[in-house]
Assembly symmetry: C2
Homo-oligomer: 702 residues x 2
Amino acid sequence: MSTDLSKFFYPKSIAVIGASSKPGTLGYELLGNLMNFGYNGKLFPVNPKADAIHSIKSYKSLLEIKDDVDLAVIMLGKHLVLTAIDECKKKKVKSVIVITAGFKEVGEEGVTLEKELIAKTKKYGMRMLGPNCMGIINTKKEVQMNGTFIKGTPVPGGIGFVSQSGALGAAVLRIIEKYDIGFSQFVSIGNKADVSENDVIDYWKDNDDVNVITVYLESFSDPKEFLRICKEVTKTKPVIAIKAAKTNAGMKAASSHTGALASADTVAETLFEQSGVIRVNTVEDMFNLGKAFDRARLPVGNRVAILTNAGGPAILTVDEADRCGLDVVNLSEKTKKKLREIVVAEASVNNPVDLLPSANADVYKKATELLLADENVDAAVLILGPPLMFDTVEITKYMCEAVNKSNKCAIVVVMSQDEIIAEVAKQMPVHPPIFNSAEKAAWAIGEMLKYKAWKESPDGKVKQFNVNTKGVRSIIKKYKTGNVYLDFDDVYDILNHYKMPIVETLIARNVQQSIYDANKIGFPVVAKVFGRELVHKSDVGGVALNIQDEDELINVESRIIANLKEKGIDDKLEGFILQPFAKIEDGVETILGAVKDANAGHLLMFGLGGIFVEVFKDVKFKIAPLTTADAKSIVRSIKSYEILKGVRGKKSVDIDFVEENILKLSKLVTDFPEFTEIDLNPFVFSPNRNKSKILDARIKLG
Amino acid sequence: MSTDLSKFFYPKSIAVIGASSKPGTLGYELLGNLMNFGYNGKLFPVNPKADAIHSIKSYKSLLEIKDDVDLAVIMLGKHLVLTAIDECKKKKVKSVIVITAGFKEVGEEGVTLEKELIAKTKKYGMRMLGPNCMGIINTKKEVQMNGTFIKGTPVPGGIGFVSQSGALGAAVLRIIEKYDIGFSQFVSIGNKADVSENDVIDYWKDNDDVNVITVYLESFSDPKEFLRICKEVTKTKPVIAIKAAKTNAGMKAASSHTGALASADTVAETLFEQSGVIRVNTVEDMFNLGKAFDRARLPVGNRVAILTNAGGPAILTVDEADRCGLDVVNLSEKTKKKLREIVVAEASVNNPVDLLPSANADVYKKATELLLADENVDAAVLILGPPLMFDTVEITKYMCEAVNKSNKCAIVVVMSQDEIIAEVAKQMPVHPPIFNSAEKAAWAIGEMLKYKAWKESPDGKVKQFNVNTKGVRSIIKKYKTGNVYLDFDDVYDILNHYKMPIVETLIARNVQQSIYDANKIGFPVVAKVFGRELVHKSDVGGVALNIQDEDELINVESRIIANLKEKGIDDKLEGFILQPFAKIEDGVETILGAVKDANAGHLLMFGLGGIFVEVFKDVKFKIAPLTTADAKSIVRSIKSYEILKGVRGKKSVDIDFVEENILKLSKLVTDFPEFTEIDLNPFVFSPNRNKSKILDARIKLG
C-alpha cells in the first residue's frame, strides 16, 4: 500500500495558524494565495489578535473552530510551533505543514528543536510537511489550493513537482505561465523532517491527477527506499529528477580500485539509472520534458519527421535527433506527392520538410496532418521560425489542432517567441507541448523513447546460489578488528566458498618454498609479492608473469626484494604468491568489485580491467542486491561490451558466466554487509567458462 | 592585409534599388528600418515609378543620383538584378548587397543565374554580399545602419554576428533586446557567392568596434582559409561558432582505420579546435558567451566565488563550476569576517556565500564588493533568486555598480526573471553580463578561461625534415592508376625515405621462401598474410605472433591458408610478411594515420591503437600541415596520454619521438597530396626511441 498523503493534497478544510492581516508577511500572502486561487474548501485563519483576516472570520485558537480541520498550516515564530502541534493533537488534526524556518538548517539549536518537533508529531501519529518549507499546491478544479506564499499563478496540468529547495520552487512558479508548465500538484518538502521525497513519489504512484513526476533533490532521505519506490513508480509513470551532486562522505576513504572509481556522484547516478528515473541537469530541461510527457503521446518508434519554414534550425534539429537516436526517416512517396500539391515550388518535401517563409497557417496545418498520417513516421517536430508577414499565434493554433486530431507524438516549436507559448496555451487549453527550441524537442522525443524502452523492459529477479555462507562466516570471525584487508589465503577460501573462479594459488613465505610451490603448480608461473600493506603490486614492480623455470624464479624474486629495499619497504614483504601463468590472449581482462556507501549500501562495479581501468573508466555501478536484469544491463552498458563479444575474429567470452559472477558477488556482499571493499581484478573472462579466472583479489572488512 | 569591407559596414551613402512605398514589401521594410534606426548617412531610394518613398526623394535610376554612392542594396526581381549590377558599374559603386532570392538555393536555373552574377561582379571588380541574404547592420553611433528587412531593434554592443542562415538571424534579432545581446555589426551572408564568412571574420580582425565574433555556419566556404584566418583572429579576439554537422561527402568511401574513425563532423570539429574557435551547439549558448566576452573581463585564474540568496541554485552552480574546471575557492578570513558584519546570523559566509532571502540591495552590493576584493578570487557568479519583498531591478543595479567598479570577471544572474535583464540594460548602459541561469554563468567563465589559455599558448611552427622526397616521387610514378593501395614493399620504402621506423620486413612469396626469410630475420618472428585485397588482416585470422621455429611457422602458414580457403578468398593471398617479433610489453600500441578530405585536405589522426581503437575511439585529428604546437596538442589531448606517460611504474615512452613522427607524416602528406589514406597501425612507441616501431602500414594513392 502506498503512503497516504491525501489530507495534504485534498483537504476539505484548512486552518492557517499564524494568518496575518499585515500585507507582506508570509501569513498574509499564504492566506491570500489560498483565497485568490479559489480554494474549494473551508478556510480557518487562526490568530489570537484578529477577528477577521482577508475578510474571513478569524479564530483566537484552533480549538475554537467547530468544524473538522483536515490540514493545519503553521507559520508561527519557531518557539511557538511545538505548542501549536499540541493544539493540533487536541483538535485531532492529523496532517500539518510547518512553514516556519529556523530548524535544522540554522545549526545546533535548530537541530535540537527539530528533534523535539519530530518526536512530538511521531508520538501524536501525525504526518508533518517541513519545517522550513514553502507549502503545497493542488490545481485540480475540485480543490484549487495554492497553499504557498509565493507570487505567481499556478497553471493546471498533469505535472507533479516535489522540491527540496524552496528558492528553486519559487523560481519555477514564476515561469510556469510563461512556459506553459502545467502543474497538478506541487509540494515543497523543506527540511523533510517527516514527509520525504520518497513518501510523495510513492503517494503519486496511484494518483490519477499526476501524469509525470518531477523532483528537485539536494540529498536522498533514504537511497534504498528511493530505489525500491522509483523502480515501481517508473513502470507506471515517468519520474524526472535534478540532483546536485556535491559531497558524498560515504566512500571518501576507499582505497580499492572500485572505491577510487566511484565518484561523489556515483550513488546518485546509479540510483537514477537503476530505478529508471530520468536525470536532467537544468530546471528548463526538467519541465520541457515534463511538458512533453504530460501533453504528448509516447512515440511508438524512433522515426521522426521534421517540419520547418527555415533551413538553419532544421539542420540543427537533424543533428540533435541523430545524437538522440532518432531516425530522420524518408517520407512515403504518397506523402511527398500530397505535400507537393500544397507547398510552393521551391519548398522541399523531403524530410526535413521546408515550407519556406511564405507558408501560412493553412499550409502548416495541412503539412502537419500529412506528416502525422505518414506510416513511416512515429513522431514529429513542428518548427515555426518567426514568420515575416503572418500571425504566429494563428499558425501555431492551426498546427496544434492538427496534432490534437492525431494519435502520434508531436512537439510544436515556436522559435524565439516565448510569448506565443502562453498565448496559445491560454486560447487552447488542450494542446500539444509547445517548445521554444527545436533541438530540445528532438531531445525530448529521444528521452521519451528511452523511457518507453525502460517501461517495457523485464524486471528481473534476485537469483539464489548454493554457496557456503557458513565457511565465510567462520573466516570473518577470525578477524578481531575491522577496517582491515583479509589475508590472501582467506580471500582465496571465501571466493571458493562462493564458487567464484579464483586462480589456483599457493603462498610461499620465502624463496625456497616458492621454488617448491612453483614446481607443484607447474611452470610457467606468475610470482607476486605478498604483503598486507603492499596494496598496488605493480606500482612496486612486484608482479612477474610467465616465469619459465627455477632460475628465472630466483632471479625475479631477488629483483623484487631489491626493488622493495630501494623503496625502503622490504619489511612489508610477507612472502610470494605463486599462480599458474594463464595466457590472456583469448580472454578479456575485466574488473569486478564492490564498495560500500554509508547511505546506499553496496555498489557493485563491473568494467574493463588492466591498465586501462583508470584511463577510460569504462565501468558501471549498480546497487546491491542486483537482479538478473541489472546484471544483464551492467554488462551491456560498458563500452567494452563489444570487446567481450569478440572483435576482429575473436570469439565472445561466456557472457552468461560474467553475469553469474556479478550476481554471486552481489549475493556475497548482501550476505555479508561487513565487507566494505572488494576488488576482483583482473577477472579474466574467456570463451570457455572453465578458463575464466580471477587472477587477483582483495577484500576489506569494515 | 585583411579584407576591406568598410564600404559595407561604414557607408556614407546607400542606394536602395527596389525601394517600395508599399507596406509589407521587403523594399518598404528595409528602407523603413534604415530610417527608423537613424542611419547617419545619405539614403537614395531608387524606383522607376515613385517620386518619394518614406518621405524621401526617390530616383528613377541609380544614374540620376548626383552624389557618390558607397553601397547599393538590390532588392529587385531576380531577372532584373544583372541589369542593376551594370548600372552600379556605371555609377562606380564598388559594394553591393543582393537581397533578392531565387539563385543557387532553388536549383539549376538559379545556379546558372548566380554564376552570371558572380562573373559580372568579378569582372567589374565589385564586392557582393548575397544573393539571398537579409542585409547588414552597424549599430555604431556614427553609422547607425539597420540595413535589413527584419522586425526588431538592434541593441548596441561589441558583438559581431555573421549568419549563413537568414531565418536564424531573424530569430536572433527578435530576442536581442530581451536577452541584452549587444550587436556591433551583423551580416547575413546568404548564398555567399562572393563575400564569405572568411572575408567577414578577416575584416573584423582589425575592427575595433567588434570585440567578439559570433558565427552561424551551415558549410565552410574554404576550410583551409577558415583555419588560417581564425588561427590569427582568435589570438586577438574570441570567435564563437555554431556549425551544423550534417553530410560531409569528402571522406565517405574511406576504407582505412583512420578514415573509418573520421565522422561527418570531424572536419568541423578539427577546424574549430585547431583554430581556437569556440564551438557551441545552441544560439542561446553562443550569445550568452558572446555577452560574457563582450561585457566582462577575462578571468585571470580559475578561482571563483559564488554569491546567492538561495541554496539550491548555488549547489547546482558549484557542480557546474567544478565540471568546467573552476575552483570554488575558500574565501580569505578577512573577507569572511567583513561579510559576517553585514549579513544576517543564519547566512553562510563560506563560498558559496548565501545571503538568504532577506538580503536587500545594500547587502548584495556590499557582499559583491567584498567578494571581488578578495585576493583569493579571480571571478564571481552573483545569483539573485526571485526576492519575496524587494525590487529585483534595484538589487541587480546595485550588484552591477559594484561589478563595474572592480577589474575582475563577474557575471550577474537574475534567475527566472528575463524581463529584469532588459530593464537593467536600459537603465544602465554600461553593465556586466546579466544571465538568467547560474549554471550557464559558471560555464561561460570556464570557456573564458579556456580561451585565455589558447590566446596565451605558443603558435608553433611547421618543422622541416631532411627526407628523400625524390625516392617517394619515383615510387608514386610506378603506379599508373589511382585509388589503389601501394604494395607493402613500396610502403616500406616510403617510410624509410622519410626515416619513419617501419619494422624490418621481408616478403616471402611462398612458404618455402618464408622459412628462409624467417631464419634471416631470426626467430621468434611474426608472420602475416600478404595480399593487396586482404585489408583487415586479423579479421581473416591472418596474423601470427611469436613464432618460435620453422615447424611452428609451417603450421601457422598452413592454418592461415586453410582459413582463407574456408572463407573462399585464398586466391587473394600473394605471400607472407615476415618480421621480427617485438614484445610490446614495454611499448604502447598507437595508431597514426592520415585521410584526405575533399575540401579541408589531409587530416592527421593519432591515438590509442590495438583492439581498443574502434571501441574507445580515443583518437584526435588535426589538419595538415601540423605545427609543433599541433603535434604537442594532439598527443596530449588523447585520454591515453596517461598511458604513454607510463602507468603503474612503467616508464614514459619517448614523447618527443611520437611528436617527430606525427610531424613527419604531416610532411609526407603535404609533400605528396596524392596519398589519400595512410594507416600506421600499430605504431608501437617505447621509452627507447630505437625500439619504437611501426608494425604495420598501409598507404592509398588517390
